[in-house]
Symmetry: C2
Subunit: 380 residues, 2 copies
Amino acid sequence: MDNVIKQLAVLGSTGSVGQQTLDVIRRFPHHFRIIGLAAASHADLLARQIEEFQPRYVYLQNRAAHLSDGGYKFLSMEDIACHPEVDTVVIATSGKSGLLPTIAAVTSGKNIALANKESLVMAGEIITTEARLSGAQILPVDSEHSAIWQCLNGETLPPARLILTASGGPFLHYPSAQLSEVTARQALKHPSWHMGRKITIDSATLMNKGLEVIEAHWLFNVPFEDITAVVHPQSIIHSLVEFSDGSAKAQLGYPDMRLPIQYALSYPQRLSNPQLPRLNWDNINQLTFEPLDTARFPCFQLAVEAGKKGGTYPAVLCAADEVAVTLFLSQRLRFTDIAPLIEWVLEQHQAVAHPTLNEIMAADAWARDKATQFGTGNKL
Amino acid sequence: MDNVIKQLAVLGSTGSVGQQTLDVIRRFPHHFRIIGLAAASHADLLARQIEEFQPRYVYLQNRAAHLSDGGYKFLSMEDIACHPEVDTVVIATSGKSGLLPTIAAVTSGKNIALANKESLVMAGEIITTEARLSGAQILPVDSEHSAIWQCLNGETLPPARLILTASGGPFLHYPSAQLSEVTARQALKHPSWHMGRKITIDSATLMNKGLEVIEAHWLFNVPFEDITAVVHPQSIIHSLVEFSDGSAKAQLGYPDMRLPIQYALSYPQRLSNPQLPRLNWDNINQLTFEPLDTARFPCFQLAVEAGKKGGTYPAVLCAADEVAVTLFLSQRLRFTDIAPLIEWVLEQHQAVAHPTLNEIMAADAWARDKATQFGTGNKL
């Protein structure tokens, strides 16, 4: 990399991706400087991060938590995201909370390293339009989208097809009859990735893969018809791109989020980081593939359909899913009722095409309400 | 692709890669025009190719064969390779015969689509130096090198490691004790690729993979220590590149030489060609990998060592191998005596460092002589 130090804001710094982002930044003090940190909770961890990285601007959602004064100033996430001193904003928040800061950042021309997929799913049209107008780059952090992005590097024509790989989650070959009884604890044990709670449950239902299809549609401007998914339990091939001549490229690596995080921050360069694992071909005996079982995991298709219909449907999908996951984690919803809840909410939705941000927020609020009704058994 | 028609010469047009090259060109008459064709033999086939593609310049090595007069002129391969009307020369000849035309082409600044690996193995230093001086591009056609080249596309830093995949050939798991009895017919049945006879035998001994290591060294300027090979019997991943951050990229496709040929011709663009197969992920259940067994297939290591030593050693390796393969195909040498023959010749060679073309040709002649001695049992 050249010698310009990138000035970063990390939103969601105490979450899984946020912590791994700081782990990468810690190794390259000559390349990156932290200007802003924002967290929803975990005040203690945030305090330690502030001490180590000395940001100028800080946000903590949980006002009740105590954060001692220091050489920094409290700002909102949106204000941090579009602050003149910031070049690149890492959006590592969970669920809907990344949406407004993402829009603030791209509108003001900041590059965003986007780990939060819900923002693009809810408001892909607005975000990509604003980015085009302002010149902001959207740098994917999700491992699948980072893979696709790496494979598209240097190609002069749009891809013919994107093939997202899916680990299949903890219940890939679990007996169908017992799926209704699985606990949050079981669902939180992901076979290959260590991630936040929301995305881990989304991986178990394969909703995550459906959201990724929508995210890929917006990031790479590829029609839904040309985006597919295949189950690859080893999670070593992170995704593939097929080109118009039939050639395909894949990006590979052991599951470690620090790699796509670092690539998004160092792009178009790569940084030598001995901490990141190298594939050992003496130990890789096989990579396996199987079709994604959409009957067992209906959330995938719900997401793809919502993406194809567009308008406010994807926002409703996200909101209903976020409520459903919360209900499941607190044992108020069975695993197999997550998809029916989301489907029920989607079916009742009166969608708006090409929605404004306000219309998206209204659809989101409406869907949360509906989903909560379903969850509390008051759906009739 | 833009609208400039590339003016091509195809050397070795009646061979396997030559015919597949014409198959690609046939589909894109608005992109490519044949200026020259050259063949060693197969006058009938060459005559049909002349009729179809109407080249201005023709070469046929076998003077005894009759070729009717037409609207073309006979020229030597070297004269065709550096003719002012030619932009790009496809070097699809077998063995040593590609060397002089390759040097003629790159010296005169022609881009070369290089399917003949022996040229780079024998004279990699001369060819790459001449190409740098003249601005000629060397466009790899070998599927493995095309894969690496595609993966390097758009990358700003040199790769950390190249991993060549090897099908393992027809004798991958053949009983060691019976290897000495295998026939040319068995060795010519390659499990995944249909190729010329010389390269098919080289694939059975894994000499081909060793030559590819040397070829990769020169094409991509990567030290031998950073080039490895892994056996991948399905021949779907054509090779991989690892970068300094630990990320790896692979290029994939069903084995079909038309894809790397077409990519070399259309680069940096890709052409939509419905004739080329698309990967069907419903049918790909697994991709397997195993270490390359250098004890069973000593030719691989002989080649890598010759490459590392450099100088005239690789030319001697090529010459001894070419003789050994000819002897094996005519049942005058056992399969398991191919490696000992080559090793014996290499051991006696007095190498020259940074050789001139004359010194390479002298080493080649010396090695052919020696190898023939071994083959006729007169080695003492």
